[in-house]
Symmetry: D3
Subunit: 134 residues, 6 copies
């Protein structure tokens, strides 16, 4: 049984590899590398997989998962500049792929290790990524 | 190849474990346990997996699957109180998880056993579950 | 200039006119009149119309409007039975039309009278209503 | 008859009144005033009102309107920082309200003056604004 | 008070003016004029405006409106070729604008003349039209 | 890590098996077999699975994937009649299942063979299919 909880945060970012020249960044990443940043309404969904607790009918209490997600992810990233404000991206390019890994790593310690976990993240309605820890 | 069919029903429910005191129900389930019920527009999607029939280009005729879903699920649960009106939940807490299992069990006999089946159910836009029979 | 804020609540209700026999209620309202209630994920959007404040660039501060909407509408109706739990519907049939009027009346005193206000309410994805106080 | 065309752009911004202290900006605008910006997937829809051309069955050729919208709005604002990169907001706070006015002003000269025009802009799924030139 | 009901139909069409040469049709309408047709999932919403009936809490019974819409619009146009199969478009270019007028004319006789009526039609998620009979 | 890119095309089609009589086609396929075609706004999403490139933070450059999808799929099928205009369906019934296979086969040569690929295709909001090459 899998259960899903969806949340959002709004943030600025740019795709920029500091080991490269500005020219190469611009060549590879195009407008995603705009020096003054751009931004997105990020939408993400946490999937938890495991057995149903017969006493509650729940795999996990979504009220509690919601609180963890808000404390660990939304509070941290909402209305922030991922490159400038967020230590999690100090050495990592804030691509959708890497954001999903960072979210997975932030939440994993708060979810029982008997439960599997994955993260789906939409950067736009057309572009999304999914990470399950592997 | 997987094919999907989505439908909806609107129902009232409450999350309540009859083996527990009202106080414990309220402590654990919060407002989801409100004695006079609340309700949802449930959205659900049936996934059928199997080979394509070369004569039709179909895995399964969605016109027929649609009819089975409406007869077995929508007719049964639409505009009902899951706790009070539906014998399927007489001994089962109508959590999203358990509703998806009940739907899976209702539909499984109507779909060829050579085809795999799973159910995704959205209780709200933010909360959903998925069950594949295991 | 118009600004809009959308919120949701999940509630149970039934359409029932106490002046009519059960039979007439059933004839007129069909399954919407099921005695044990059914429910919906109500989605609603408040529209505020007025001039822009040059100092803020806002017609109204949506942070504040959001708080008023949550206190006056969501807290009151979320995870409730509109017929049984909500005094606002003691003498009013909780049709989508009447729910939109009740929401308008609850919010109107909290919004500057120089600003026009209207309410759009979706009972399902397919059925919705709109009320502007007239 | 009204016709509508919807497009999107992704941009960074902050709500900041340069005549105020940083403290006052923070008090009034909260996290929307974060100095390092945040961002949104802006979605906007242009509405054009007028009679149908009997020869084409169109009020306006949406292929042409689409091109104007992309050239005048999307190219200008997509993957930009509205405060830093866009001269249109040099002296205007880039609130959703003001962005909709800027879009209206950019497009108005390109649409026949016999046709009415309005702009709806969604900053998030929950927050939106609408401007018709008045 | 306004109430809305949304439905869909799936149809083929082409934009073609029989008074013009094929070349001019192609010049003006581009790929929308492809001789072998293309198609859309049309989504449309009927808006009815009027007073609330105090006995029912309804402006209009949406169950009945739904039935009229299905009989008069969906049955007529669903899985059809608008140009070839539908007499309503024998002398009218099936642009979104004209389809909305045809729908309005089909439904108007079935709705009490004391109630105002309008039609919104989406040809794609990005292109839509609205007609109110004027 | 999986990344997803979503696109659309609008096309006409009919479900028709040329080895069968018209009567049998009509019996089996119903209105989907209408001789003059009907149509859909097809929405499809390509999923690519593989490791992250540490230099870019990408599994695959979605700008490039977008271009391939538009050249190979959208240009080919948008505003076309799949049965009449598209050689890809000369000997294949253009069911959603088969369209997803055709898309997969068109794109597979353009994506590095170390990356897994699958296609999800929505014919309507309620009906969709998924194909991963097996």
């Amino acid at each position: 049984m899998r259960v899903y909880r969806r949340e959002t945060f709004n943030a600025a970012h740019r795709i920029y590899n500091p080991k490269w020249s500005d020219e190469k960044n611009s060549d590879v990443f195009g407008k995603c590398s705009n020096p003054n940043y751009h931004g997105h309404n990020y939408k993400f969904e946490i999937c938890i997989e495991g057995p149903i607790n017969q006493e509650t009918g729940y795999v996990i209490d979504l009220k509690e998962l919601k609180k963890v997600i808000q404390d660990e992810v939304c509070e941290r990233f909402d209305h922030k500049n991922l490159n400038m404000d967020c230590v999690e991206f100090a050495n990592i390019i804030p691509s959708a792929e890497n954001i999903s890994i960072v979210i997975w790593n932030l939440l994993r310690p708060h979810v029982n290790m008997d439960l599997k976990m994955s993260v789906k993240l939409w950067e736009t309605e057309k572009n999304s990524v999914e990470y399950d820890g592997k």
